[in-house]
């Protein structure tokens, strides 16, 4: 995991109310209890506010791991 990736992990940890150490880029709704549909909605809100982007519904639908969220953000030139 790259050093400057902490911001994204930290954000997921805060929204999903778990320790950052418990999360990796492979974390997904299957492995994190609070990552249900309400959690996913809160993640979209937090990511958009934190990185000042607007995600498309396609990106949101595909964002089922932290790694995929990272890719989506990188594709929008966000350094995470």
């Amino acid at each position: 995991m790259a050093e400057d990736s902490d911001a994204l992990i930290a954000l997921f940890a805060e929204v999903l109310q778990v320790q950052a150490a418990e999360l990796t880029d492979d974390s997904s709704p299957e492995s994190v209890r609070r990552w249900d549909s309400l959690g996913a909605m809160a993640l979209v809100t937090a990511i958009e506010e934190r990185f000042n982007v607007q995600l498309s519904t396609k990106q949101i639908m595909k964002m089922n791991t932290i790694g995929r969220a990272r890719k989506a953000l990188q594709a929008m030139n966000v350094r995470v």
């Binding site: 309400l38 909605m41 506010e49």
Partner: protein, 596 residues
């Protein structure tokens, strides 16, 4: 507060908890859409206004079931507040679409909306606490766009009919607080309020910023329910009610009128007049020559406020602290119920330091923001505006004219000159808000100090063995309004005075004696032969300890009650025009049709 700040404040609060919080208001939100994003915004707004709360959400889109079986669906009946948020497009999507093309469907939509209001009415009966229900916001729904190239907009017509039908039915229910979601959406804009992605993905229609607004409005409604609204705004004059300095610029030179910057001051005055009309008293505290300043009120064409709108003037060269204290004494209100507005930061700082309970508001540097400076503070939010609130300033002004007359006459002459008209009547629905207000705030002239909710008062008013009396007083100076309440209950041959209270403003002018005489009259109409009453001492009601003996009641040592035989009449004092009307009570005693 931004959305991020609010969420972080709420997260910090939740993290500080150890287990379920005790003794905090419990709030249930039920909505026709996914509403969970509201939690941190409502929670944070309440933290700011009144403190912690516990917020839970009912199951998605089960509003009808919640109305009919709140305990079963919410799983708990100990809620202090239930708030229902709903949208037409969630409850009636197909009907909404068809209503654009079919008048029958539009009529059916209205019927469905009224049926939902009926369900809310049944929840009102089942639930004791505060019930808040949203208005339906303008739908974001195909064909309802204001910019659809159809004139006139069919969607707007359908929507307005629905909104009106909903409001009319809900007004009949009574005691339901409205969260004006539609009004809030007008303020924000339909487009800005929505997030169409989240709506389609998660059934959650709104942008975060709009949830923040909903949370803040809902918090204001919940807080207003507890009372504590400010009662008086004390206003500076120069550069606050008008631009410029009257003593230097003169009547022609000050800025006030339809052109900027005079417009900002005029709009601010219009807002102040709105406050006055719902019961907030306006006062003036200005360092000026009184003649100069009053001339603006009397002669400037562009003034919105008149002298009669101002309950107290303090125009002189003494300190604002002194002025504010005098206003508080004159209007008989607490310092903590006052708001002070001034353009001078030094005055604000001095008042804030010496009278920390006064809420201070500095005129904004950007004068265009002045008209809105008080509007969104929530300082003056009240749950319900009564008739007495609307007429408060007139009553206060009449009071000070009475005082002047009283000082120039003997007591008897004064009383006879007043032309007192005292009307005692069975309280009806339109009186219940004021009756409840008096029951819960009267401390001094109050024999039993039994507090009651509006519901309980309504139940008594409908009870055939009880009667809720109101007393309304007017004299030649004006109206006092509804200032006395008595609750009588029939126990066989005895009529028990459960509650007897009066606003202290009307004492000593024959009101007590008249009220007593009318109570005895009402008890006779209940076919009772004796009147019984109790004095329950509190730290504040010493003034009525001897009330019953004063009117010839005898103490029954066995029960501790005061007793009077109704074969004896009590006299209405000389010069008082008194009447009793209990034809509208649940007893219907003086209705000629009864027993026919």
């Amino acid at each position: 507060m931004t959305t991020i700040e609010a969420r972080s404040a709420w997260r910090d609060y939740l993290a500080s908890l150890h287990g379920e919080p005790d003794g905090v208001p419990r709030i249930a939100i039920a909505a026709s859409m996914t509403a969970e994003p509201l939690e941190p915004y409502l929670g944070a707004a309440l933290l700011n206004r009144q403190g912690p709360s516990a917020i839970t959400f009912g199951p998605f889109n089960q509003l009808h079931q919640i109305c009919l079986q709140p305990r079963e669906v919410l799983g708990d009946d100990r809620f202090d507040v239930i708030a229902l948020l709903w949208r037409l497009e969630d409850l009636f999507p197909d009907l909404l679409s068809r209503s654009l093309v079919s008048p029958e469907a539009a009529a059916d939509l209205q019927r469905q909306v009224i049926r939902f209001a009926d369900a809310v009415a049944s929840l009102r009966e089942r639930f004791e606490g505060t019930l808040i229900v949203s208005t339906p916001p303008f739908p974001l729904w195909p064909g309802f766009g204001l910019l659809d190239a159809v004139q006139p907009s069919a969607g707007m017509a359908v929507f307005q009919q629905v909104l009106q039908a909903w409001g009319a039915r809900l007004a009949q229910v009574g005691r339901v607080r409205q969260l004006d979601l539609h009004g809030l959406m007008l303020t924000t804009g339909v487009r800005a309020a929505h997030d169409v992605r989240k709506w389609q993905l998660y059934r959650q229609p709104y942008a975060e910023g709009f949830w923040l607004e909903i949370g803040q409005l809902l918090a204001r409604i919940i807080t207003a329910e507890k009372g504590g609204a400010k009662k008086c705004v004390v206003l500076d004059l120069d550069n606050t009610l008008w631009g410029g300095i009257i003593g230097e610029d003169g009547l022609e030179g000050i800025q006030l009128g339809q052109d900027f910057p005079g417009l900002a001051y005029q709009l601010f005055q219009r807002y102040l007049l709105c406050l006055k009309n719902r019961g907030v008293m306006l006062a003036v505290a200005s360092r000026n020559n009184a003649d100069d300043a009053l001339e603006v009120f009397d002669r400037h064409d562009a003034m919105v406020l008149t002298r009669r709108d101002i309950a107290a003037f303090e125009i002189h060269w003494e300190s604002k602290v002194e002025s504010i204290q005098r206003v508080a004494r004159r209007l008989n209100i607490g310092i903590d119920s006052m708001v002070f507005v001034d353009d001078n930061p030094k005055e604000i700082a001095e008042v804030a330091e010496r009278l920390p309970d006064v809420t201070c508001v500095l005129v904004p540097e950007e004068v265009a923001f002045l008209p809105g400076v008080l509007a969104e503070t929530g300082l003056f939010d009240i749950a319900e505006v009564t008739d007495e609130d609307r007429r408060r300033t007139e009553m206060i002004t009449a009071d000070s004219m009475r005082q002047q007359a009283e000082e120039s006459m003997t007591e008897d002459d004064f009383r006879r000159s007043l032309d007192l008209k005292i009307r005692v009547f069975a309280a009806q629905r339109q009186h219940l808000a004021r009756v409840t207000q008096l029951i819960n705030k009267t401390n001094q002239f109050n024999l039993t100090t039994i507090r009651r909710t509006a519901d309980q008062v309504a139940q008594l008013a409908a009870d055939p063995d009880a009667i809720v009396l109101g007393m309304d007083i007017a004299d030649r100076f004006g109206e006092y309004g509804l200032v006395g309440v008595a609750i009588l209950r029939r126990h066989g041959p005895a009529c028990v005075i459960d509650t007897l209270l009066m606003s202290c403003r009307v004492l000593g002018r024959g009101a007590e004696a008249t009220f007593m005489a009318m109570i005895a009259e009402a008890a006779r109409a209940l076919d009772c032969v004796e009147l019984r009453g109790r004095y329950v001492p509190t730290p504040k009601n010493g003034m009525v300890a001897q009330l019953y003996p004063r009117f010839g009641f005898a103490l029954d040592a066995r029960t501790g009650e005061w007793q009077m035989d109704l074969s004896r009449s009590l006299l209405v004092p000389d010069g008082v025009d008194a009447s009793l009307d209990i034809s509208h009570s649940a007893l219907g005693v003086s209705s000629p049709a009864r027993g026919a």
